[in-house]
Amino acid sequence: MDFTITEEQKAFRDAVYKFAKNELYELTKEAERKGEFSFEAWKKMGEYGIMALPFPEEYGGHDAGVMTTLLAMEALARGGCDAGTCLAWGAHTILCGVPIWQVGTEEQKKKYLPGIASGELIGGFGLTEPEAGSDAAGAKTTAVKKGDKYILNGSKMFITNGPIGHVFVVIAVTNKAAGHFGISAFIVEKGFPGFSVGEDLDKLGNRSSTTCELIFEDCEVPAENLLGQEGFGFITVGKTTLEWERSCLLAAGVGGIEFGLDKTVQYAKERKQFGKPIGKFQAVQNMLSEMKVSVEAAKMALYRVGWLKEQNLPAMLEASIAKLFISEVGLRAADLAVQVHGGYGYMKEYDVERGYRDAKLGTIGAGTSEVQRMIISKMLLNTKKKGGNK
């Protein structure tokens, strides 16, 4: 065992933290207040190289590796880049960029990755549908091959970056009868005929990220934009993105808890009641220590996924555990942060107010807590063997 990170990783993490604190904190806080995406923050992140982290250098990436990407995202959120902007990064880099990099043809990679790596081309991912969330096999969006095109019909729901995105990885059914092996992935550009987006959706949290429905009405997608083999969209794209999602995207969640803890510790030291800083009261220390234990444990659950992925080892169970644990302690920590802040915590002026609203997405997005427990228990229990009551 060894729990060190390299000096290089440490230095980069610290630099990203400062960058977020100095360049992104105010901008994204303001964007969240307005419920708008900050193109200015996005541009800065692109110039800093945040979108380029995981991709190979030949496509404009930084070849940073999972651990470094994960540490950078944790630092970005801890530095104060708000959850919505981190979510936009995830939908773009991890959910759109990573599958194109992992599954795409050379032409696809050359065409899309440099723009995604620089942030000039904003990406998104369309899996969820109005009537099919975690039950991806129940998807209704279809793709039918006609000549050198696929014709897509249907819609995708709750798509992060939908209103502002230029390119989307979209999952559609190409052969209903084949079940999981009848689902394919496509790279869909904003300008393709028959593609449109719905109205911006108003949300509880993550308000600096934009969300809408993607609509496909006889949408024409060139056959060369099929991503991976036909019929393998769920298996390959789903699998490659999933573990990245449950490591690098989760990292921002951990950084968010740390940001909230940092703010709360500072408040508990400064705020005086009954003649002393409230941090001296055991009831407040009780809450602070719970947050701190959660942070330390969440980091371990997260880094383990990064460590497994870096060695190309399977991390399905560990990724689900990390997702479940981090999102649930995150929600609790956000609640505690507001509680320590008291009335001020309920005010929009204080960062923990938005943290409270942002945290709820954790237990819902990318597979609810219930879905994670379903995955975990199915991997752990064998209910197929013969039972018999004693």
Partner: protein, 382 residues
């Protein structure tokens, strides 16, 4: 970064786990019912090299890292928490105290026998009137020529009756800031102390605990551990180990809860199906698994940092707090999965439920862990 035990460590754990499953686990229920130390089991554990794990080779040990001792301790606790409590008290606290603070001659005379499991160790810090408030202790040690004369009563000392060596912390005078000066001693069997009646405990009954009356106890000057007056620092250092020990036991008991719950969920039929197909049962099983899995990661890191000599008491406290809270939840869910049977001594759930409760108390309560964490988080002023 590397979250895994190395090949040798894994092999050690696997071999030890086989012995525990074959020889220790089958005795767990009987050991609990008998409420007595299982000497035969301790011998088997000794033969398997458990007590030698973290002792350097020059003193007859294996020179393994703390993470290895952690892995073996949780493995043992998964088989029989009570027996693991008794054995680990010797390995984590007594061995460590002598290794880190004993004179060369004391190390040579005691460590090989402790590593071999021929001698059993104990740790006596708390008193009936002073638990976490260490400076309030009443036990004293007075220098008398070439020996120290001890007096006072130590409370709830695990292994008290069976121990050959007890690490005792006692007052040796006045220190700075109106606090007492404390010192640490290796008190050997036959040095004049007496052991009280075995305490009736909620759980961990295979690990008897009792008060120790130190009046009439005298130890040679060479049995002083560290410098005179260094007892507070030594106690704090040993408590780091003792808290890692609690975390290891808690993780092991959570694992035992998971194994029991899994078995029951897979085989118990209700409404025509194994109950594990129902989400109410399956999701509890998932939570029980996580109750061992995530605290283990944190505790492993804490062990590793302690081994590196880092000042990581807050991280150790975090690991202990999380592991002990999670095992109480795990045992609760495990018993619930067993239903009515879980409430009876026919199922392991009932015993595990009682055993689990100690780890939120032993070697510093959850409340004390929070203080340790907040001292680090907020600064020494808080």
């Amino acid at each position: 970064m590397d979250f895994a035990l190395n090949k040798d460590q894994k092999e050690l754990q696997t071999a030890f786990g086989k012995m525990c499953a074959a020889d220790i686990a089958p005795c767990a229920a009987a050991a609990d019912a008998a409420a007595s130390l299982q000497i035969d089991n301790l011998k088997k554990i000794a033969q398997a090299g458990y007590f030698a794990t973290a002792v350097p080779a020059e003193f007859g040990g294996k020179g393994e890292e703390l993470v290895t001792l952690f892995a073996l301790t949780e493995t043992l606790a998964a088989a029989c928490p009570g027996t693991a409590m008794a054995a680990s008290t010797s390995a984590w606290l007594c061995n460590t105290a002598i290794l880190k603070y004993g004179s060369d001659s004391l190390k040579k005379s005691l460590l090989p026998a402790l590593a071999a499991g021929e001698k059993l160790g104990a740790f006596a810090l708390a008193e009936p009137g002073a638990g976490s408030d260490i400076n309030a202790m009443a036990a004293t040690a007075v220098k008398d020529g070439d020996s120290w004369k001890l007096d006072g009563v130590k409370g709830l000392c695990w292994n008290a009756a069976a121990a050959d060596v007890i690490i005792v912390i006692a007052k040796t005078g006045d220190g700075a800031d109106a606090q007492p000066a404390l010192s640490a001693f290796a008190v050997e069997k036959g040095s004049g102390y007496s052991v009280g009646e075995q305490a009736k405990t909620l759980g961990l009954r295979a690990a008897p605990a009792a008060n120790i009356d130190l009046s009439g106890c005298a130890v040679p000057a060479s049995n002083l551990l560290g410098a005179e007056g260094a007892g507070w620092d030594i106690a704090m250092d040993l408590l780091d180990y003792g808290r890692l020990q609690m975390a290891a036991l808690a993780v092991g008991v959570s694992t035992a809860c998971f194994m029991a719950a899994k078995d029951h969920a897979e085989t118990r039929m209700a409404f025509g199906k194994p109950i594990g197909v129902f989400q109410e049962v399956a999701f509890k099983a998932a939570d029980i698994y996580i109750a061992a899995d995530v605290p283990r990661l944190l505790a492993n890191q804490a062990c590793w940092r302690k081994q590196q000599g880092e000042n990581c008491s807050h991280l150790i406290a975090s690991a202990k707090l999380l592991a002990s809270q999670k095992v109480v939840e795990a045992a609760h869910k495990c018993l619930q999965i067993f239903g009515g049977k879980g409430y009876t001594a026919d199922a392991p759930a009932e015993r595990l439920y009682r055993d689990a409760r100690f780890f939120e108390i032993g070697n510093g309560t959850t409340e004390i862990m929070r203080q340790v964490i907040c001292k680090d988080l907020l600064g020494a002023d808080f």
